[in-house]
Amino acid sequence: MALRTEPFVLNIGPQHPSSHGLFRLEVTLDGEVVTGLELVLGYLHRGIEKLAEGRTYIQNIPLTDRLDYLASMTNNFAYVLAVEKLAGIEVPERTEYLRVIMAELMRISSHLSFIGFLLNELGAYFTPLFYMFREREKILDLFEMVCGQRLTYNYMRIGGVSQDIPEEFLPAVKRFVAEMPRLVDEYEQLLSGNEILLARTKGVGILPRDKAINASASGPVLRASGVKWDIRKVDPYSVYDRFDFEVPVGSVGDVYDRYWVRVSEMRQSVRILEQALKQLPKGEVWTKVPGLLRPLRGEVYGHIEGPKGELGFYLVSDNSIAPYRFHIRPPALLNLTALKDMVVGWKLADAIVIFGSLDTVLGEVDR
């Protein structure tokens, strides 16, 4: 242990296979051990907050698609909820259910890609990634059926959703819900028991409970550290209070717990989907909302439990057609806060895995 080498600064990124976009980790190494770390962000900064101040409320919905491009639906959802809260708009019940169905499908899809990329960072030469993408593709097919696109959905509208679902959507979702638990089992068989995966993830990159709360971690990262905090439960929005589901909570807060929490959440999402499909009422999907919405002067903070964590929108209105201030609370950025404390002391290979376990999407971090 006493053997130290000359400090060695390594730039991981901006072009690096594991940098999840454009992003730079300035790592100081002592041999293989990480002794220091600095985040360099902003390679994908598009100034969405500034752009949004010049667009109407409805024109901002496509912009939110571009935040976390692996979970566009939930971004739409959070923004639309915030605007509805600001303007005091009630939405039809069928819409609420459709939104929940879309959000849960999106959560499964986002977690699937998380698992695939995490395993890739662990060095499982693309195989789990392809399996996960195969399942994700099925979800993307469903989204394509509903709103015509596969990545930037722009499906939710203020006061509803853009269109009702087509008739072939429900049988397809039912089939997906029926076969998903079996597939999750299969992937757990491939991954969760794998000794090498356990060796690489158990006890690695521990984020203790207090630290996680203090560093404003949210979503699966917070829950992996043992905090039972899911906005769907503690502050139910939409119709989440009508569903019966559990919040999986990790015990240690290591990489494995973050992986396990997400796998369990996929099962819970399937449960929510089953109930939502059963309860889905008939009716309208959109309340009449003026195209140029002018909410009253005021401000609002609307948040939802996105796949990456608490996704919030802080909107300030000055009674004009565009928001006066449009702030996004990006879960991925805040989860990065504690990265340094988690990584220091671990090996270079672990640093990559710990970073991957936070499920960062740079579109959301840089905005």
Binding site: L39, L41, G42, H45, G47, E49, K50, K211, I213, N214, A215, S216, A217, V227, W229, V234, D235, P236, E299, Y301, H303, E310, G312, Y314, V316, Y324, R325, H327, R329, L333, L334, L336, T337, A338, D366, R367
Partner: protein, 146 residues
């Protein structure tokens, strides 16, 4: 359901500890002076009645006359939340005390506000621009930036 605490009620409870701190308090928020922000924040975090251990969101709004720095605080234990605000009337060198020592989660968010809004957070351990490069002219999220 997360209970949003009313600014007025919280203000009453704080008032005897920090009589000079509160500028106004309304239904949604409690607005304090920048000088006393750190003390108020520490009080809100340490008092068992409030126990705001989680800083949900930190941002700033430019109202042209003044900057408003907004803190959304949440207590995971009591499941309630509060909006704490502070105002900064200086446009040239606005400065607000940093709360990183209370909530580490403020770290990157304060850097972001510093970068895009140009508000200095005194006491921040590593106040550098987060997204834009050093030497970028101006602060883009200000309303008068074109």
């Amino acid at each position: 359901m997360t209970v949003t605490l009313k600014g007025e009620e919280v203000a009453k409870k704080i008032a005897h500890s920090f009589p000079m701190a509160i500028i106004t308090a309304n239904q949604t928020a409690i607005i304090v002076t920048p000088d006393s922000l750190y003390q108020v924040a520490r009080f809100l975090k340490a008092t068992p009645e409030f126990d705001f251990d989680y800083l949900t969101n930190l941002t700033a709004v430019d109202y042209l006359d003044y900057f408003e720095v907004v803190y959304h605080l949440t207590s995971l234990k009591h499941n309630h939340s509060l909006v704490l605000k502070t105002r900064c009337y200086d446009r040239e060198k606005p400065s607000v005390p940093s709360v990183v020592s209370l909530w580490q989660g403020a770290d990157l968010q304060e850097r972001e506000v510093y970068d895009l809004m140009g508000i200095t957070f005194s006491g921040h351990p590593n106040l550098k621009r987060l997204f834009l490069w050093e030497g970028f002219p101006g602060h883009p999220l200000r309303r008068d930036y074109l």
